[in-house]
Symmetry: C2
Subunit: 462 residues, 2 copies
């Protein structure tokens, strides 16, 4: 039997991924053929985040076998790093007491992620099997809304009174057992435990022992309210280049801290949600879902599209007699609709993204709308000439060229305006513009495209 590691040397060392397709294949082969010990040897060197990727890349049955083989040597961090669909399927195979033991080892935010979507019975079993102190923290986190700062925060942090000296802080840090795994700043609190300043570690380390904390603390604080939405948390970190930030309750008291690594995950998720929604799928994505669950997630959106497509077709039906007389119209009409859809999607994409990054606001909406109308009109002129030229030659009819040219100008102008107004309107109505703007837009550009083209043909040619 050949060494399963042999096949791994082909890929260059430049690949930044530890979990290469070759490694996934080698692990799969080991699990299916040579046995779990070879598979364990192959994954032994992997970082927790990479082992999570490996589990995600495996087929469900192989995943099950690898987890069984890992047994109690499975690092709890691996579970916290799994995609949520995979996490929930993996947890089905693990005993509640083992999940509880894993959760107790994790930071509060990771422990909460681990069990937040478990069924009520299973969640209760896990919580009851956890040490009381950890359980209380996780229960408190679960009481905060999904996607809030309260879910993201760790309850361990370092806070000191302002009259301490740097020397006292250092001595206390050296003696204390109950510190977070990682921290980047020391919060300075008043007697009521409200943050009044912060000392980044790089500043504390450079300061001599007798200096008081209050003399070196930064008083510019970017406090996170515990009920703040995670998207706003990510905005704060991005805007102010934070490595960590204090989370406070409504009374201003320090409750915990959020670190940038959790915010990086949020930023990836939020961007992913926008991309998914623009593509007409649910925000969470369905890459790791089995086929039938995927169908269930997607078909509603296609149903909406069927309805809007029927509406667009009804526009064509109005001109059935015109098409019967000039079949060239039926051939050319998808071009007008398609160009409007694409030009409108360009505008829409910029608008949805600019809303998400808060560049598009009430203050500049009118100016940007005007710009998009100019862009739409200019592109309309360019493509009116091109389409008129193509259509005139194709059907040896300059008048058909004239009709498609005029329809193109109208539709691209409307596309530019609709591409801005639809996301702005949805956003003002409190709806995520990414989720439904695309389908509304193509309905508009299809209806306007068909109506302008066929209507002008009826007016001008017949």
């Amino acid at each position: 039997m050949s060494d399963p590691l042999d096949s791994l040397d082909t890929d260059g060392a430049a690949d930044p991924m530890a979990v290469t397709p070759e490694l996934v294949r080698a692990v799969t082969d080991a699990l299916d053929e040579s046995g779990p010990d070879d598979a364990l040897m192959l994954v032994a060197h992997l970082h927790a985040a990479d082992l999570a990727d490996m589990l995600e890349a495996l087929r469900p049955d192989d995943r099950h076998d690898l987890i069984a083989a890992l047994g109690s040597s499975l690092d709890p961090e691996v579970l916290a790093d799994l995609d949520e669909h995979v996490r929930d399927r993996v947890l089905e195979d693990i005993d509640p007491s083992a999940i509880a033991a894993a959760a107790a080892e994790l930071d509060t935010d990771d422990a909460t992620y681990l069990i937040e979507d478990l069924g009520a019975v299973a969640q209760r079993q896990v919580l009851e099997a956890m040490p009381a102190a950890d359980r209380a923290l996780v229960e408190a986190a679960l009481a905060y809304p999904d996607n809030s700062a309260g879910r993201l925060m760790q309850r361990d942090y370092v806070a000191v009174p302002s009259y301490w000296t740097v020397g006292q802080v250092i001595d206390w840090l050296r003696d204390s057992d109950d510190l977070p795994d990682e921290f980047y700043e020391i919060f300075v609190v008043d007697p009521r435990h409200r943050p009044i300043g912060t000392v980044p570690l790089y500043r504390a380390m450079r300061t001599r022992r007798p200096v008081a904390v209050e003399d070196i603390m930064q008083i510019e604080l970017h406090l996170i309210a515990v009920e703040m939405d995670q998207e706003d948390v990510a905005y704060q970190f991005d805007q102010y280049d934070l490595a960590s930030a204090a989370v406070v309750g409504s009374d201003g008291r320090l409750l915990g801290q959020i670190t940038v690594d959790d915010v990086v995950d949020v930023m990836r998720e939020e961007a992913e949600e926008d991309i998914h929604r623009l593509g007409g799928i649910t925000a969470e994505g369905d890459f790791h879902l089995p086929p039938l669950q995927t169908v269930r997630r997607r078909w509603v959106w296609l149903l909406v599209n069927l309805i809007t497509a029927v509406i667009a077709s009804a526009t064509i039906a109005v001109f059935a007699d015109t098409i019967e007389q000039i079949v060239a119209l039926a051939i050319l009409m998808p071009i007008v609709a398609s160009m409007g859809g694409n030009a409108g999607t360009q505008t829409l994409t910029v608008a949805v993204r600019a809303l998400a990054t808060r560049e598009l606001t009430a203050a500049n909406a009118a100016r940007i709308l005007w710009k998009e109308c100019i862009v739409g009109g200019t592109n309309g002129l360019i493509f009116a000439v091109l389409a008129a030229f193509v259509a005139s030659l194709w059907f040896a009819s300059p008048i058909i060229g004239l009709v498609i040219g005029l329809a193109m100008i109208i539709n691209l102008l409307v596309a530019g305006a609709a591409g801005m107004l639809i996301p702005l309107g949805l956003s003002r109505a409190g709806v995520d513009p990414a989720i439904s703007a695309g389908i509304l837009l193509t309905t508009v550009t299809d209806v306007v495209g068909f109506f302008a083209f066929l209507g002008l043909a009826k007016l001008i040619i017949l």
Copy 2:
């Protein structure tokens, strides 16, 4: 005259943004009416990143006036935080010697960002006006490719030999003038200046003075090669939850460090690029571009779409005689094409995103392709029944219902397969799948939709 701050109290304190539409309006009014001093008062309290947002939100002429009013009190960080299009227009108004003074105050990576896109003459002027040491660092950074780790890194970092004690490190930090503004870890280097370990600050602070650095250093290093693409850098930070990382040259020597705040910017940019490309616009976006430059960026893509739309129309032209006999076909055919386009886009979006996050690889491509065919076939069946029902009733013709149903199954099955195969193929060919997958996909679903529907009609009905 009323106090320009009056209008700002309407918005709730919950808004995480410092630059509200109300503030932008107040600044605009002040610049246009009451004079620059009122505007300066309004922006005086803003963080550099917020002032950059304010400048981006203003009309070009107001932006010019505000920068003129700020004069030499403008924080260089503001310039480094500007969107690149706005940055380049703002720099046109600033004297090269003033730009040089600003660049000299910034970290190397920010100074490089500031001047990287200046014209050759202006860039030379700025570089020559900079202090020699800063100039050398910026010139070295500019020599690395765009979007490489070399561009992102700061040249200031903290590195110590492994035999030092924690006490020596602390004393050295307290005495040294030449330290980075911010740092989260102390790199441990060998005599040839190659990183052999790292001590996070929170670990150093908790360790007693006599302990040697080599006894507490982490030897698991996530080194960044200086020519690594920034997307791979972001992957490393995200995957391994890094706050900072050492950048090394090809000889393994430590050159600089990258901190997570720069990586957060990269992640936002990369996600934005994917969203923009999927929407058919250039990766950088054009929100801040004037109309005619926006047209120039977008029209090429619309030209490609015109060509593919003509190809789809040519498919219809093949069946011109069939449409002439049954005009209902012209009315219904966009429904089949539209459903295929939307179902395919769902698959495509998941595939493009999964390629970007490296979840879709050669190891699982076959399995996911199979899944998408099942999803496409199932959705095809569902919507075949629905469309057949609608079409049969609408045109009182069960046979037209049968034709649209069969065409729907074919097109949604093809859409699922094409939605996976197109991005996979583009990615294997070394092309960014986000940039051209959408237009290829809708060409496929339009052609197959029209061909299947009209072809089946010709076969079955006529």
